[in-house]
């Protein structure tokens, strides 16, 4: 059953490759729906012992590839499915409309389904080499998607992205080599038990984390992101910002909490948190200065990613086993809530912005004034997504920030408070920069290209998802408590086995 979540998108990709151009959209959408459905079945239909565990070809560890899903996997799988499905609904009409015919959409569906399949497989992998391969697959597919618009800016951004991604992967691979050299096993469970503080291990830790930081575009390693996300077609930007970034973040969570919990230190956690803080401030500062809509949203991604990294200093108690780490669950819930709501909100934002650009024909921020009351659904979507990013009620972002702030105060790490507060203010700065233009008087009467309703509705649906996340925190908590079967139980929190 679990294998299906990988096989369906891959076969869908193959089918799309072979189909005539006209049919590709339908085939792609069908495959997308099937994948989403399969993930939901996997997550919500109770199965037997082996639902969440599968050895490919019947070959077990350490030579075979095993797939293993735990609570965190399910969360990321669900997040990916819903977002990806809605983006797929968007992509069909988007690439069919006359204005977009110029872009080489021929292979969008193939690449996208490959990417999605890679994401799904990554979330259920249980050994680090498999994860390396899937990361490469994801990166290559993502870069290829970025090149769909055949302009020079997009191509240069794509090549830079490719190099950055490969750099990250290679550094990670070197870390894998060190780990294998030291311990001889590749699977997460086996490594988690055996890892000790030796020089090669620490080097491996540093390398692997560094590699993932490049891919997640944490300040100051974010140089490749704004151009790449800002110059891609709208659905691709949504895919990149919402989903691809989360995959390397997922890897980071795995590395930090499954493989190396015994050697992470307070200082390392604070360092990640500090880089996150810089990202929050720098990203929003840059966003406010942008004149092009998509670059603004791309810089916003750089900023929002910083919030994700606050998870590390706040959960360090889980690892060092401090007593009374009651804020642990708050921090985890807040971090995951932030991840999920950011994915939905950022995808919604990119799609809605794509609608507006499609209608207006230009990317400039000022031209938002020419909307003049039309496209209300897309403007509203931008509003809701913005509210989510700012962390204002009612939204998932608000719940996330609440929990994070609560964890910050409970754990006594009060120095993150001004960062979170300033981050919200700066985020409000660029969100209302966009919205202010909508209310401002228009400069000239502009004829709008019509936007297919599916585009507006899917963007709006994503924004609603972001709000809805705020109400599902108890579900998230339950999922988080499902641990890896084979993992030793960390001492500070008790995880129930499913």
């Amino acid at each position: 059953m679990m294998v299906l979540i990988v096989i369906i998108p891959f076969s869908g990709a193959l089918i799309c490759l072979l189909m005539p151009k006209r049919m590709r959209g339908y085939a792609g959408l069908a495959a997308a729906a099937a994948t989403c459905l399969t993930v939901f079945l996997l997550a919500f239909i109770p199965g037997g012992e082996d639902t969440f565990h599968h050895a490919l070809g019947g070959w077990g560890r350490p030579l075979g590839i095993e797939l293993q899903a735990d609570g965190l996997s399910i969360i990321f799988l669900l997040l990916t499915s819903v977002t990806a499905f809605l983006i797929s609904i968007y992509a069909g009409p988007y690439f069919d409309s006359p204005r977009e015919q110029k872009t080489a959409d021929y292979h969008f569906w193939t690449l996208w389904l490959l990417l999605w399949g890679g994401l799904n497989a990554l979330y259920v992998s249980s050994d680090i080499f498999n994860m390396y391969v899937l990361l490469e697959l994801i990166s290559l597919a993502a870069v290829a998607l970025t090149t769909l618009k055949e302009e020079a800016e997009a191509l240069i951004a794509a090549l830079r992205y490719l190099m950055a991604a490969m750099l990250g992967s290679l550094v990670f691979l070197l870390g894998v080599a060190f780990l294998y050299a030291e311990y001889g096993v590749l699977d997460l469970g086996g490594l988690g038990v055996q890892v000790q503080t030796t020089l090669p291990t620490i080097t491996a830790f540093g390398l692997m984390v560094f590699g993932m930081l490049i891919k997640t575009a944490l300040f100051p390693l974010h140089f490749w992101l704004p151009a790449a996300h800002g110059n891609a077609p709208a659905p691709v930007s949504a895919i990149l910002s919402a989903l691809v970034i989360k995959s390397s973040y997922f890897m980071l969570l795995r590395i930090w909490f499954e493989i190396f919990p015994s050697i992470t230190t307070y200082a390392a956690a604070q360092l990640l948190g500090a880089m996150g803080a810089f990202a929050i401030l720098w990203g929003s500062f840059q966003a406010v200065r942008q004149e092009r809509l998509k670059l603004l949203v791309a810089h916003s991604t750089v900023s929002q990613i910083g919030y994700l990294f606050l998870l590390f200093p706040l959960t360090i108690a889980q690892i060092t086993g401090e007593q009374g780490a009651s804020w642990n669950m708050q921090a985890w819930t807040g971090g995951i809530c932030q991840t999920v709501s950011h994915a939905a909100a950022k995808a919604a934002l990119f799609l809605a912005v794509g609608n507006i650009i499609h209608a207006l024909g230009t990317d400039r921020l000022i031209s938002l004034r020419d909307i003049k009351g039309r496209l209300p659904l897309s403007v509203f979507t931008i509003g809701i997504a913005g509210v989510n990013l700012m962390g204002l009620p009612p939204s998932g972002g608000f719940v996330a920030k609440w929990m994070l702030l609560n964890a910050v105060i409970s754990s006594g790490q009060w120095w993150w408070i001004p960062i979170i507060v300033l981050g919200s203010l700066l985020t409000a700065g660029y969100v209302f920069l966009m919205l202010g233009h909508v209310f401002a008087p228009s400069r000239k009467a502009v004829v709008l290209q019509s936007v297919p309703p599916a585009l507006e509705i899917s963007a709006f649906a994503l924004a609603l998802c972001a709000i809805f996340i705020g109400f599902t925190t108890s579900g998230i908590i339950d999922l988080l408590q499902m641990g890896f079967h084979t993992m030793p139980m960390p001492e500070a929190i008790t995880w129930r086995l499913p």
Binding site: L392, P394, I409, S410, L425, A428, F432, G436, F471, S474
Partner: protein, 502 residues
């Protein structure tokens, strides 16, 4: 679980929330449908609020709706005596302002957008009234910021956009500070509901005194933006570029009262009066309120623009409520709370009048108001009534609130309060009376002699009716202040409910 008692708070919220959302989707031309929906929603809200008031006061019914939002915090809607006062104000004034707005905005663009956000704004202030704990309060408080922004920038002019930006900066910063304070409180004290007499005293561990003081300061700073406490008041005069119904609603009901309401909640239902007094935070707050009262009145003298003058008057008057909350005597808090209601009606009357004059005669400045009383007698008559009330002339409602505040100061031994009140009364007279004098005792300029009007009314009835109603209410609240169910009587009951004997 979902008995009808649980549903009523939700219905109150929904009456404006659903109305708002539906109105967004109405085409612009469909003004008849839109107005019907508006009035329907407003009527439903008034009726439901009346039912809840009666149920609470007479049958002692408990209306509560609670669900767990996330780890450690509940979303709670609940009626208690304090929420009644604010709810009553919100519901009736929304009803009246809707009538006014329909008339005022006739023929102007973007009305669907306006009324949509207008309804959402009322939803937010209803939610603030019904909030049963600090988290729910905060949620609706920030929601209020978000939905008032489109109303401020509604006209879309450069001035409006700039005003909107100022408005946002102040309110979002205040919101961020408030957020930090609320989360800190929930982290330190766990989750708790609003309880008369406060909860923090029990939870105060030794040594956390300074933290509680810090959090109090942060709470007041966050709430103080909306309450327009000096020096956080800068957004209020600037926001006057909004259309008159917005200024009326913002200044009488929604935004400023939400801030003051929040401060009362914090002092009496979170910290508790005695604990606050023991933390030594109340005297600085009273001082800040006094400074605001005097500063606002002084600035009002300088304003030639009528709405700006009224804005600074609001800055000054809202701090009466804060002053009442900060003084130790129960009489003072009675005065403050009843002023919440009285000031609402009087100030909205004044803004309605200002809007009438602006809309009908296109006059915005005080210096242009010569002889307007002859041209628009009903408008300027109600203006005079409300202005006298604000100045504190009996028997209009404003006198009652000032009287109780003064009594409270006297009982407390804080005689400087009386000095502030007297000074403020004189200043009020100084900036209101000239307007009345100009309107009634000066000659009309030549081009505006009263022309026989076709319809005999000086302006549209939709603009006159609400004005008259609110003015009469202000008069009635003063005349029948001794009645058990007058605003004064209700406030006395509220204060008794808090455990303090006036």
């Amino acid at each position: 679980m979902m008995s009808w008692e649980h549903m009523l708070p939700l219905v109150t919220l929904a009456s404006s929330l659903v109305t708002g959302i539906v109105i967004f989707f109405l085409p612009e031309r469909n003004s008849a449908l839109r107005s019907t929906l508006n009035m329907l929603g407003a009527s439903i809200k008034v009726i439901v609020v009346a039912v809840m008031i009666r149920g609470f006061l007479v049958d002692d019914a408990a209306y509560e709706l609670r669900f767990t939002l996330a780890l450690g915090f509940d979303f709670l809607l609940r009626i208690d005596s304090l929420s009644l006062a604010f709810l009553f104000l919100s519901a009736t004034l929304w009803f009246l302002t809707t009538i006014y707005a329909i008339g005022y905005l006739e023929g102007s663009p973007n009305r669907s957008r306006f009324f949509g956000f207008f309804s959402l704004c009322v939803t937010a202030s209803t939610g603030i009234a019904l909030a049963g704990n600090l988290i729910t309060f905060f949620i609706f408080y920030e929601f209020l910021t978000l939905v008032t922004y489109p109303l401020v920038v509604h006209r879309g002019t450069k001035k409006a956009i700039r005003a909107g930006r100022v408005y946002l900066w102040y309110n979002i910063s205040g919101g961020a500070v408030l957020f930090t304070a609320v989360v800190s409180l929930s982290a330190l004290a766990g989750s708790f509901d609003f309880t008369a007499g406060g909860v923090l005293a029990e939870m105060a561990a030794s040594g956390s005194r300074s933290i509680h003081q810090l959090i109090f300061f942060l709470l007041i700073a966050g709430l103080g933006v909306k309450t327009a406490l000096v020096p956080l008041h800068g957004w209020l005069p600037v926001a006057m570029v909004a259309p008159a119904p917005v200024s009326a609603l913002l200044h009488a009901v929604a935004v400023v009262k939400a801030g003051a309401f929040g401060i009362v909640r914090v002092i009496y239902y979170v910290y508790g009066k005695e604990y606050s007094a023991s933390l030594d935070v109340l005297f600085p707050l009273a001082l800040a309120a006094a400074v605001t009262i005097l500063y606002g009145s002084l600035q009002a003298l300088n304003q030639n623009d009528l709405k700006k003058r009224l804005a600074y008057s609001t800055v000054s008057q809202i701090s009466y409520i804060v002053l009442g909350a900060a003084l130790a005597s129960p009489l003072a808090i009675v005065g403050g709370l009843v002023h919440l209601i009285h000031q609402g009606f009087m100030k909205i009357t004044l803004f309605f009048c200002a809007g009438n004059v602006a809309e009908t005669l296109e006059l915005h400045k005080v210096s242009e108001l010569d002889g307007v009383g002859r041209r628009m007698p009903l408008t300027m008559g109600t203006f005079a009534l409300a202005a006298f009330g604000m100045a504190g002339i009996p028997p209009i409602a404003g006198f009652i609130s000032k009287w109780y505040l003064a009594l409270g100061g006297l009982e407390d031994g804080q005689l400087w309060v009386i000095g502030v009140l007297v000074a403020s009364t004189l200043l009020n007279a100084a900036y209101f009376l000239p307007i009345i004098y100009r309107a009634w005792f000066r000659e009309l300029p030549v081009d505006r002699r009263p022309v026989p009007l076709r319809g005999k009314l000086e302006t549209r009835w939709t603009l006159l009716l609400p004005t008259t109603v609110t003015a009469l209410f202000s008069l009635g609240a003063g005349l029948w202040a001794g009645w058990q169910w007058s605003p004064l009587g209700v406030c006395q009951q509220i204060v008794r409910g808090m455990g303090l004997m006036p």
